[in-house]
Symmetry: C2
Subunit: 426 residues, 2 copies
């Protein structure tokens, strides 16, 4: 399918900055084939999207979530972490079938597409289900099966599941995979070293939770004499491209380690506040040159899968904690939600540039939250809520147009979710 977005406001990278301007964008063979200049082979009968009163941005990249938890939204709030995990989340997970995980992932993907997210980085537990949902939804996803264990055992069941899932997912170009050792408190040093070794051998990246809570850090200090980031370093995790979620409790020395080893950090402001974990040292990590990305985390601890909400939190909270209105500005938030995520995930997307994968979100400007459109970068962080997204293109294919989903039967998903919640007692 070829598409031309005619004369729209679009945010393009120019000399290291993201600059809004009026442009016409040509899409062909899944890629951005030209900007303002029509490619030679561009077909005359391309689908035309009128750019009047529209803003085009790179599709947002949700760099850390667990879509299989989407039906756990609003079922475990205002609780202590222990209550939340052991009395609410775990019992639900114990009763979850693979089919449940599939429908829940679709629910999360509906919310993401509707709010302009085109790629997500997912840690999950029922193999084949998120990948199945992604094939249907048309989204781009990076998948890992969550791994927990204690021994240096290359025959580990979960690792084998992860590898099996990768094998099965080869044929879909929108799917890529990482290894997902869950966290220092669920992976022994031996197990973590085994996963890091396998990742290095197979040329895979790692996706891990690190330094999320004070309790995690205190327990690890007591038992292993190190921080979670030192623990991962010692196990060889940082020998492969690593995406570390949270890092709320990262110390100055941890930040130095991560910067030196080119670890990408995903900050999840809503989840970190909601579970009482606090505020990640995002300004400090950015200053140290760390590639900071943005994620929603799963719906049980957010509870939205809406990156606009998350951009709002990221742009606001550090101004509050640092008593500095210039702290983490709109330009930095935009990069965290787009190109930084693409770089962390090794994907040729996240910016409107010729040659990049055509993953785009088109927003209405004739809505109160975008009016006046004095500064579209600011609007994305400070006044938009995600409902401005009108049309979404992923891999050169329209998955939503004029607010209508093209790939997912929403009513069917909602109906399945309703009956699942009845069965699970949600």
């Amino acid at each position: 399918m070829s598409i031309v977005i005619k004369d729209a406001l679009a945010i393009l990278p120019q000399k290291g900055a993201d600059v809004p301007g009026r442009h016409t964008i040509y899409i062909m063979d899944g890629k951005i084939a030209g900007i303002d200049e029509k490619p030679a082979a561009f077909p005359e009968d391309a689908h035309v999207i009128d750019g009047t009163n529209r803003l085009v941005i790179p599709g947002l990249i949700n760099a850390h979530t667990h879509t299989y938890m989407s039906m756990m939204r609003n079922c475990a709030d205002d609780l202590s972490f222990m209550d939340w995990l052991f009395n609410r989340v775990n019992p639900i997970e114990d009763n979850l079938t693979p089919e449940d995980a599939y429908w829940a992932s679709l629910l999360g993907q509906i919310e993401m597409i509707r709010s302009g997210t085109t790629t997500f980085n997912d840690m999950q537990m029922h193999i084949h289900q998120t990948t199945r949902a992604v094939r249907e939804s048309g989204m781009r996803a990076v998948i890992c099966r969550g791994l927990v264990g204690s021994d240096y055992d290359r025959d580990d069941v979960r690792l084998q599941q992860a590898l099996e899932e990768m094998e099965e997912g080869r044929e879909c170009s929108r799917l890529t995979f990482r290894l997902g050792p869950h966290a220092p408190y669920t992976c022994s040093p031996d197990y973590l070293r085994m996963v890091a070794d396998v990742a290095a051998e197979k040329g895979l990246g790692i996706h891990i939770h690190l330094a999320e809570s004070v309790a995690e850090c205190e327990n690890l200090r007591r038992d292993q004499g190190c921080t979670p980031i030192e623990y991962a370093l010692q196990a060889g995790v940082f020998n492969v491209p690593t995406i570390a979620a949270h890092c709320v409790q990262a110390t100055e020395s941890d930040i130095k380690i991560m910067a030196e080893h080119h670890v990408s950090v995903v900050t999840n402001p809503a989840s970190n506040m909601k579970l009482g974990n606090g505020f990640a040292p995002v300004p400090e990590m950015m200053a140290a040159g760390i590639n900071v990305c943005l994620g929603t985390d799963g719906a049980a601890s957010n509870n939205a899968q809406n990156m606009f909400r998350e951009m709002g939190f990221l742009a606001m909270i550090h101004k509050g904690t640092h008593a500095t209105p210039q702290c983490v500005g709109a330009a930095e938030v935009f990069r965290a939600a787009t190109i930084n995520g693409a770089n962390a995930l090794g994907l040729n997307t996240g910016a409107i540039e010729t040659g990049r994968l055509a993953d785009l979100a088109i927003l209405r400007l004739d809505v109160p939250s975008m009016m006046p459109a004095n500064n579209p970068l600011s609007a994305l962080c400070y006044s938009a809520n995600g409902s401005e997204v009108d049309t979404v293109i992923i891999d050169g294919r329209i998955v939503m147009e004029g607010g209508e989903l093209k790939t997912i039967d929403e009513e069917r998903v909602y109906s399945e979710i309703r009956s699942m919640c009845g069965r699970l007692g949600l």
Copy 2:
């Protein structure tokens, strides 16, 4: 107009809690005339709203804003407070005409209605303009003309303007008025005492900014030897019903003073973070029994006029600062955004109860952010973004139905805002 909302999920106050349940709501003569029980005189030809997949909540109350600033959205971000005020906001205000203030207020009101707000408490500077916009929009508003001055002068021009506006606004039942001395740093002790005396004589409440920034507190301590809250107390402000916006820097003793004098506090989390002022001691004020309400503040410092965004911030940030996931829960946020605002403003609204003014917002439940609807109170704070609002009733009149505004010509407003921005160089 009589309206019946048939068999919808609705959040009703029951024995001090807000409880979701299925109800049919009868609206007549601007009021909620019955719940589940049809009033005797209820007409057969009432307008029927089907409650299937709908959630009814009291219309939200934005307890502190400046709607005339709505066109300043996204034009002054990521700047120091001094840069923001003196180099961006003030020069724009200097060039603003009364007509500009009218259109800007309508822009803010469009955003508020679309996101379920039915009442706002507005401090403004061009008299007759917000009131004019409110008459047309159908919203409920409490208006004050911002007052600044140095002498005990009852002939003060701005005070006279405020009184003139009140006189002119008498005939509209949706309009009420307060006196609005701007802040301790713009009102001398004599001027503030004069305003407090006039308020007491005329039976008017006061709306004031207090203890917003560290600089305000430090300067006042140096010049007057007291906190902003002590300053207001000494001037007699708290002798009349007072709504104090911000109170970010309120001390333990300030909180005690405000609790003893039944001062209502409006917290404005987005604005306080965005300008680098920090986090108000909301949990502490709530614990002291202060009536804490919620507001967006003006669009120059937020930049949204969307109370859902604000509810999200309020529910999240104090869990982060207090490292406690139970801190400021969804139930408390809901009250801050509804009944607490009504009580502060002296309005018989803010709850779904027979006899209250019929100010209601109806949300879609068949959208991803509300799905599953396990816990509607949580959903309002943790996953909704305001775009779920489908229908809004104010004073028993439908001002939006099925996403369509009934009272404001949106295109006309946007067109006026665009040309105004051109003229103001925004």
